[in-house]
Amino acid sequence: MAHRWGMVIDLDRCTGCEACVVACRAENNIATVGEEQAGLSRAKHWIRVERYYEGEFPDVKVKFQPVLCQQCDAAPCETVCPTFASYHTGEGLNGQIYNRCIGTRYCANACPYEVRFFNFFNPVWDKPLHLQLNPDVSVRTVGVMEKCTFCVQRIKAGEIQAEAEKRELKDGEIRPACVQSCPPEAMVFGDLNDAESRASRLANSRRRTKLLAELGTRPKVTYLQRDSWHGDENA
């Protein structure tokens, strides 16, 4: 059976530290756009940590919510792309083929999660910062959309490695950069078609929610809601 990659994000563990944000940038050759362009809301963060305040001082709460491409099963971005640049891969990922993209930006409008980013200009790395570029990931040119791929280069590398060694992939063997870096291990990545994978089991937690589930996009990212302390009941 084909893999069906999914992710579980435990909001009870997430500390909002942004390790995932920087890991993603480093892994996927996401260019910084600089102060002026960032001021025009054009910074690219394939994963971001959303922060929401609740209440007023002194009864304030803050919650963090990392948002990346939800790799929807029914992805609004895919249907609207006229050139099949956004399409569904055999393993259930919402692929983005940069070469096919002509830059209608329709996918970004259709995406309810706002996880698609556009190259308003050609990316620039001040020399020798270009030496940090990951050779496994293509650099996007001006005029194309880009987005989280679940680090498809890591998925492919893992699959090829397993195939070369004539074995099945082990659960947890493939980890996107964000998952790899996350200090509190709030993110778990795995095959949702494997009922025994950690991601599958966590995705059935009583705390499971899907982001904007009501829109019917059927995301493959599951959020485990922040828990509350039950200790006073035990005490």
Binding site: R42, A43, E50, Y106, A108, N122, G143
Partner: protein, 449 residues
């Protein structure tokens, strides 16, 4: 009171085709200058990247798509109205149809440019076309943009045909009165029209068939334009009301544009004897109906949203009602309803000037309406963290201005080349209508000349 003879009509209506006045040349140069600036702005954008526009995350569509919808909407001025009037055999239509159909063709051509202008990689726009390529990739028919491609092409071909077919006899007319190079050109344009009964009959049959075909096409075009939005799960876009709402808005803005064009033609081409108060009166009534209908639609849309009270939609709703977009929203309400309805409803005010003023505010209001449909929704999607804003840059403003002056320029050039009123149809009308409604020279207006 004297009835115009066919020869007088020929003289009157062919007069604008000869000679170029200084005023004409100056305004044409001005308009051309703005259009050229727009072209330069576009090439600058294509060369450096879409970043020179004000588009940003998460408002990825702004002025360009606003213009796209606006111009496609405006294009419903002509073909659709003309077809309806033809089918309903409204006799007063005859001086109006051609100037309406011209708006369609030019507005549609301009509107159809915007999906290309707004592309991140405009040089690859042809990837939208269904053609067999070595890449073995066909366009995705699920995408409303592809529906746009088919719908706009069909509509454009139909509109151009609809405009050009009745022009052929008039070209023959010009051919027979011209000399030299002009004669050669018009001879080519007339396609060898001689005016045999067979030709006349086929032409009229064809126009009848076309009128039947073009109405559903026009309705489908603006429905599909609305589906560009309604197909996406974006707050206040994802609505079944959008298709009729857009079609209504399109006809609304189209009639306004037509009235505005007629008022200008009447003044500048001295067509006071052909474009009569009755035309403005009748179209003004139609505009009044559309204004009320438009209000009905926006009221229905707003009421449903407000009552539905959906978490996703209310931020957009309030942003337009009294948030950051409220000034634009209420300007739109004034321009589209509060100003034009009294003007058009009170008979005294429904004069040529009155309808022209109402039309002018409506054109502005409908542009704002398109903007307010697109931008507030995109800037207030579901996750509040991703809320954003939008501010156009000089590039977008220049290109927008360029399309307005482009349309005006094309219209000016067209009216220099082709009689802006269909001469043969007018003549037919003269024979058909009862004497009392014939085009007559009213002494008052003659005296003004």
């Amino acid at each position: 009171m004297a009835t115009k003879t066919p020869e007088q009509i020929n003289d009157d209506l062919l007069r604008p085709l000869s000679g170029i006045s200084g005023r004409y040349a100056l305004s044409a140069a001005l308009l051309a200058g703005v259009a050229v600036a727009a072209f330069c702005a576009f090439f600058y954008q294509a060369y450096t990247g879409l970043g020179v526009s004000g588009l940003r995350w998460p408002v990825f569509w702004g002025f360009y798509i606003t213009n796209f919808v606006f111009w496609i909407g405006l294009s419903h001025a002509g073909t659709l109205i003309s077809a309806i009037l033809r089918l309903s055999n409204a006799t007063w239509r005859r001086p109006v149809t051609r100037c309406a159909e011209v708006i369609t063709v030019f507005a549609l051509s301009i509107g159809a440019m915007f999906p290309i202008i707004h592309l991140g990689r405009p040089w690859l726009a042809f990837w939208l076309f269904p053609y067999p390529s070595e890449r073995r990739i066909w366009p995705n028919i699920h995408s409303p943009l592809l529906w746009d491609f088919f719908a706009i092409n069909t509509y454009l071909i139909a509109s151009v045909t609809f405009l050009l077919l009745p022009i052929i006899p008039d070209m023959a007319l010009v051919r027979d009165r011209a000399a030299g190079l002009r004669k050669k050109i018009y001879r080519a344009l007339a396609l060898g029209w001689t005016g045999t009964p067979k030709q006349w009959h086929r032409l009229e049959t064809a126009m009848h068939v076309m009128a039947i075909v073009v109405i559903p096409v026009a309705v489908s075009v603006h429905s599909i334009v609305s589906w560009d939005f309604a197909m996406a799960p974006v707050p206040m876009w994802h609505s079944t009301i959008f298709a009729p709402y857009f079609v209504c808005g399109a006809i609304f803005s189209g009639i306004a544009a037509l009235l505005l064009a007629m008022a200008l033609l009447r003044k500048f081409l001295h067509l006071e004897e052909y474009l009569l108060p009755i035309h403005f009166e009748n179209l003004g009534k139609l505009l009044l109906v559309m204004s009320v209908l438009w209000f009905y639609f926006i009221f229905a849309e707003r009421l449903t949203t407000w009552y539905g009270n959906s978490v996703g939609e209310m931020p957009v709703f309030w942003a337009t009602q009294h948030g950051s977009y409220a000034p634009l929203f209420w300007t739109m309400m004034f321009c589209n309803f509060l100003i034009p309805v009294p003007i058009l409803a009170i008979r005294k005010l429904r004069s040529i000037t009155g309808t022209a003023i109402a039309s002018f505010t409506i054109v502005i209001g409908m542009w704002l309406e398109r903007f307010l449909i697109i931008v507030p929704s995109l800037s207030h999607k579901y996750l509040t963290y991703s809320w954003g804003t939008y501010r156009p840059t000089w590039v977008e403003i220049t290109i927008t201005a360029g399309t307005f002056s482009g349309l005006a320029l094309l219209y000016m050039i067209f009216s220099k080349v082709v009689p802006i009123i269909s001469i043969w149809e007018l003549k037919v009308g003269l024979r058909q209508v009862p004497h009392s409604a014939r085009i007559i020279v009213e002494p008052k207006e003659v005296g003004a000349d």
